[in-house]
């Protein structure tokens, strides 16, 4: 499957409402920042809406329209800002954890099989060549980064699987902040590779305790 199909799959799954909480937050931020993704999402919702239009009828037994008018337990609409801020709060106030110089991350406390993380890279900082044990989704929230495959700016998404090895470098002018989902831990190569692998191994060891 190529990258676009995987991206669309994410949008379709979001529209269907089958994503776990981590991926769901990720996808909603993607739709908010990327107008093309948002268009695809609403087109797909329209298709699902037509499915509802043509759906078979199974009548509720004890429900009348007046029950719905008198129902009081509908919560009022909240005025949230955007998905990331409403979930993480102000990003500057987070307790970022420095992984190495110029590279910080913040792991969300979210009860899910997927890991949701924020990543902050200072201008010009790079990540050593690595590949991925499972799928990794990266969405740029601020600034940009580039790797062997291209440049990724605000609202762009990169989906990496086992076959991809890359060396992302944050923009020299702006650095970057990204939202990421990892389905399994990353495998590092190169100079610091074995050290970083050991680090992820130790991290996962403590996590499982």
């Amino acid at each position: 499957m190529n990258g676009t199909v995987v991206k669309n799959q994410l949008i379709f799954d979001f529209a269907s409402g089958i994503l776990g909480p981590a991926k769901s937050l990720f996808a909603s931020t993607y739709l908010q920042l990327n107008s093309n993704a948002s268009k695809i999402g609403s087109t797909f919702e329209k298709i699902l809406g037509e499915n509802l239009m043509d759906n078979e009828n199974i009548n509720p037994k004890n429900l009348k329209y007046s029950d719905c008018i008198n129902s009081a337990n509908i919560k009022s609409t909240s005025n949230i800002k955007d998905p990331v801020t409403s979930f993480f709060g102000n990003l500057n106030n987070l307790k970022w954890k420095q992984v190495y110089k110029g590279f910080k991350e913040y792991t969300a406390q979210i009860d899910d099989i997927d890991e949701l993380k924020l990543i902050k890279m200072d201008p010009g900082v790079s990540v050593p060549l690595h590949s991925h044990g499972g799928k990794e989704y990266i969405l740029v929230l601020e600034g940009s980064f580039c790797d062997e495959y291209g440049v990724y700016s605000k609202g762009d998404i990169q989906i990496n699987d086992q076959k991809i090895k890359h060396t992302p470098i944050a923009s020299r002018d702006t650095g970057c902040v990204c939202l990421s989902i990892t389905e399994k831990d990353v495998i590092f190569f190169g100079k610091y590779g074995s050290f970083l692998n050991l680090f992820t191994f130790i991290k996962s060891f403590f996590k499982s305790k």
Partner: protein
């Protein structure tokens, strides 16, 4: 819908109710929710339609799309009820709906895209989209119900997604 929004017309609402309540109820049952719960959820959906009718914007979407999104959000809440996270999913989705800058040209564009998709896909492919994304059935279940091998279901759905991608730009 205008009569509901402007005049709080209960008769107009009863028409919307009569048309959509059985379809929404069926949607929940197709998604594997037991009958009593499906009826409760249907009540929540239609109550939301009445209580939050001012949020609906006919320039942004068809009524069926709006009601589908409400039903889907209730489904998510229902399946997450047992989980520990207090997630603001519904708020986020409401925000996205309101944030969406949709003008009529794009609406027409979307209509054309859907027409093209509908023309391109055959009946079985449409049924597979419905089963996969509307009823959220697993590939295994789709294979059982349509009596075709699992591998065939997987490759056909991949084929449908690739085909649709050509129309979604």
């Amino acid at each position: 819908m205008k009569r509901i929004q402007k005049d709080r017309d209960e008769m107009a609402f009863s028409e919307v109710f009569d048309f959509f309540a059985p379809k929404v109820n069926a949607y929940f049952i197709q998604n594997g929710i037991r009958f009593e719960s499906s009826e409760e959820l249907t009540q929540e959906v239609l109550s939301t339609v009445w209580a939050k009718s001012n949020l609906y914007d006919s320039n942004k979407s068809a009524l069926s799309t709006w009601i589908f999104t409400i039903a889907r959000n209730k489904k998510i809440d229902f399946f997450r009820k047992n989980s520990k996270i207090d997630f603001i999913e519904e708020d986020i989705r409401e925000f996205l709906y309101q944030d969406r800058e949709f003008n009529l040209i794009e609406e027409n564009e979307a209509k054309k895209q859907i027409e093209r998709i509908n023309n391109e896909l055959d009946e079985q492919q449409k049924i597979m989209i419905k089963m996969n994304f509307f009823e959220n059935k697993s590939h295994k279940k789709i294979a059982d119900e349509l009596e075709i091998p699992l591998g065939t279901v997987k490759s056909r759905i991949r084929h449908i997604l690739t085909k649709m991608q050509g129309f979604l730009r």
